[in-house]
Point group: C2
Chain length 466, copies 2
């Protein structure tokens, strides 16, 4: 089958078109019907997914918006992408949907090849094994479980489980259930399961009233922008944070089994750090023999112009585990160290272990990224977009501050005094755009965002800021 | 569209056919290839899902087995069910796969109707709201989060969050992050996330080395069989367990926010209790103002001959939350109390909140159950199967003990001295059958298991036991 790149310009509308308030009357009507059976209080607008195409989302009132939020950064290659439609209609997909396996016990005869020819093509260099899951939260928690088993295995050596461990663990007590910790960073977001939420430190609304593990947090660098003008201060800030990490590892009341970090803290406000910081962090984890987990749930699958966000760190060796979800449309974690695979079967296990239907879909996304050179495109378009935003920042110096994400594809953000007002206004001007942190607007376009979309976005932002 | 019940007898093979060891050479070959990239140590055999049909599973070596294990009790209505294939190929399914929404922010205009005409038709009587998820573990943990928020809301009243709560919660400390507990039962299985695993009490292999919440467990009744001959003892045992529940609620070091229980403890050994026990348990939860969660992950969707396992309890009112997964092929929890919906938006939230593609698939399963009267069939076939197993138990009194599940559809189990040997032997005789607990064989056929399959199963078990 010959492949030709999709001509989105021919398929997409020429421009956004908004003719009601957003949400419009039909969105509100459906939202209110939905709210009777399903919590719909966070609904921004209701979507007609059949009519949405490429970078454009169409709402229930027929409004058409340029979507640079992409379902909280999770739509990779466009609404109704014809190549993904073909994957969804393939015989393998139908089989995977209809005959969902307990994949640990009864894998399909095609599963090994589906992983090798698909998901593992996306594996971070050097990480040749994968454990599949269903969400970013689950992926991180499975990585934590792997880290705890790894830590105890190093302590236990080849000794088998003791009687005391076997009985105490059934009572949730030491030594079978040890007091071990995962270290995360202030303002991080790693998910909403109980353990992932214990490492999430972004907002009270995520965590309030939920029991937590008493795990530590280190400061994440607060860099000043533009980076070039504050190099010495920023370096000192990063060194301060690394020192804090080391102090915590040495003095926390329970041993730290792993450190988890996002390449760019996303929900927490699009906070960046330099390659030197991440190199230093990896050196610390190696020094103390603990694992480094890169949470690539939001940064992975091309969003920063490289397939994985951590590739910007220029590490001498990959992180020990890399977790993914969102744009992958499935989830899980990659690893290579054979000790991270538990010493016995059935320790890292569940009924489904992910969803092969969603893995097949992910494979089609990887095809699409590779065949259409979307990493190169995202990187190139991101640079152009950043330049235009820098001009806008010059024009509105109090309304666009700390513009960041240069050289990281379209993964761009800026601070603004009233982000809720700005994103609301942007919707009425035909741009669906998101927030993060407390005063930040983040751009999370799809990988198929092109140069021709930039003027549409910039013009609308200019109007909204004026 | 007129509907006619699928004639599985015309589609299925007449009998199992095994011509290699199981796993056979091709299964082993593929398993070993898979193991290079994905932990394949728990693989029982590798499956040709294209060739599997109805109640019959076909392995990579061309062996055909009658499947009464059904992907750890998760295949509801047959491999390659034509009605599910049609659902998988429908335009709505393609849209749902290709345009996966962040459903809390941007639901599809069809979502409300897909829930109302689909999943909510399966809702336990009186529970009219649903929160969707992706696995049984996640469903239970979301129910725990709802219970903790509910508990604190009752304490807090209408007061807003205090400054102290807002700052302490970001450090994982009291009062924002309170020390609250979920009570579960010995030998229970509620999943493998960190909080669900803290309530799981089945086997050390599930829990070893994983930090846990210090939550309490009560004894689950150990009933003697046949039930009719041990009524007084069994009643006393159940009263003892209820008393223990009450003692724990009154004296545990942290308040108990909810009790979670399976209608039949499944992974833990197919342990049953009487309606009086469950009625007593509900009365205790109501007395103390805490929530009762029915974990229907394995028992739900018809497996006991009723849609929900708890319907056998004859409760005056439904449990506060009912969780589901497995045969539903999606997951989540039902509830009705408006206080179980958190007081603010974004507290119970995540990017995807389930997968609408899997919900559509679930809707087709509900259609299939209703149109083909599969509850009635499961109940009727289960009674006939139980009678035949009772005869076999009379023939092998030391090898089939504590036969249980009478009147609970095909949800039948028995104890046997060497369950691993028996299930292994059964495979070579063409029956794929599972274990649970420490010495139990459990039957988990699909809802489309028919009377004509009973002799096939019984003859093989008879041979295996001889």
């Amino acid at each position: 089958m010959t492949f030709s790149k999709i001509d989105w310009a021919a398929k997409e509308p020429k421009a956004p078109e908004v003719h009601t308030a957003i949400p419009g009357p039909e969105s509100k009507n459906i939202q209110s019907q939905l709210d009777g059976v399903f919590d719909a209080r966070a609904v921004q607008f209701v979507v007609d997914y059949e009519k949405s195409i490429g970078n454009y989302i169409v709402d229930a009132d027929g409004n058409t918006l340029l979507d640079v939020y992409s379902q909280i950064a999770s739509i990779p290659v466009g609404y109704n992408n014809p190549n993904l439609i073909a994957a969804a209609q393939s015989p393998d997909m139908v089989t995977a949907l209809v005959n969902r396996p307990a994949i640990g016990n009864f894998p399909s005869s095609k599963w090994a090849q589906q992983l090798k020819n698909g998901l593992l093509r996306a594996a971070p260099k050097g990480l040749n094994q994968v454990f599949t899951a269903q969400s970013g939260s689950e992926a991180n928690e499975l990585a934590y479980k792997a880290a705890f088993m790894y830590y105890r295995r190093k302590q236990r050596g080849d000794a088998d489980w003791s009687e005391e461990e076997m009985s105490s663990v059934m009572r949730n007590q030491y030594p079978g259930s040890p007091d071990l910790a995962i270290l995360s960073f202030k303002d991080s977001f790693h998910g909403r399961g109980f353990a992932s939420l214990s490492t999430t430190r972004s907002k009270p609304v995520h965590k309030m009233d939920i029991p937590s593990f008493k795990w530590p947090q280190a400061s994440f660098p607060h860099l000043k922008y533009p980076l070039e003008q504050h190099k010495a201060e920023n370096d000192a800030e990063e060194q301060r944070c690394l020192k804090e990490v080391e102090t915590i590892i040495e003095h926390w009341h329970s041993p730290v089994a792993a450190v988890i970090i996002e390449p760019i803290q996303s929900e927490g406000g699009d906070n960046h750090a330099s390659p030197a910081f991440f190199q230093g962090l990896q050196a610390i984890t190696k020094k103390y023999g603990i694992l480094l987990i890169a949470d690539e749930v939001q940064t992975g699958f091309g969003a920063t112009g490289k397939f994985w966000g951590y590739e910007h760190w220029e590490l001498p060796s990959p992180p020990d585990m890399v977790t993914f979800s969102k744009k992958a449309q499935t989830a899980g974690y990659f690893f290579s160290d054979s000790l991270i695979r538990p010493d016995k079967a059935y320790r890292q296990f569940n009924t489904w272990i992910g969803d092969p239907a969603r893995v097949l879909f992910c494979n089609a996304i990887i095809d699409e990224i590779e065949r259409s050179n979307l990493l190169e495109q995202c990187s190139r378009v991101g640079d152009a977009l950043y330049s235009e935003l820098a001009k806008l920042a010059d024009k509105y110096p109090t309304k666009i501050q700390n513009l960041r994400g240069k050289g990281k594809g379209t993964y761009i953000a800026f601070d603004t005094p009233s982000p809720a007002d700005l994103t609301k206004k942007a919707k009425t001007l035909g741009i669906n755009i998101g927030m993060c942190g407390t005063n930040t607007v983040r751009l999370r376009p799809m990988l198929i965002f092109e140069e021709r979309h930039i003027p549409t976005l910039i013009t609308a932002l200019d109007k909204a800021l004026a």
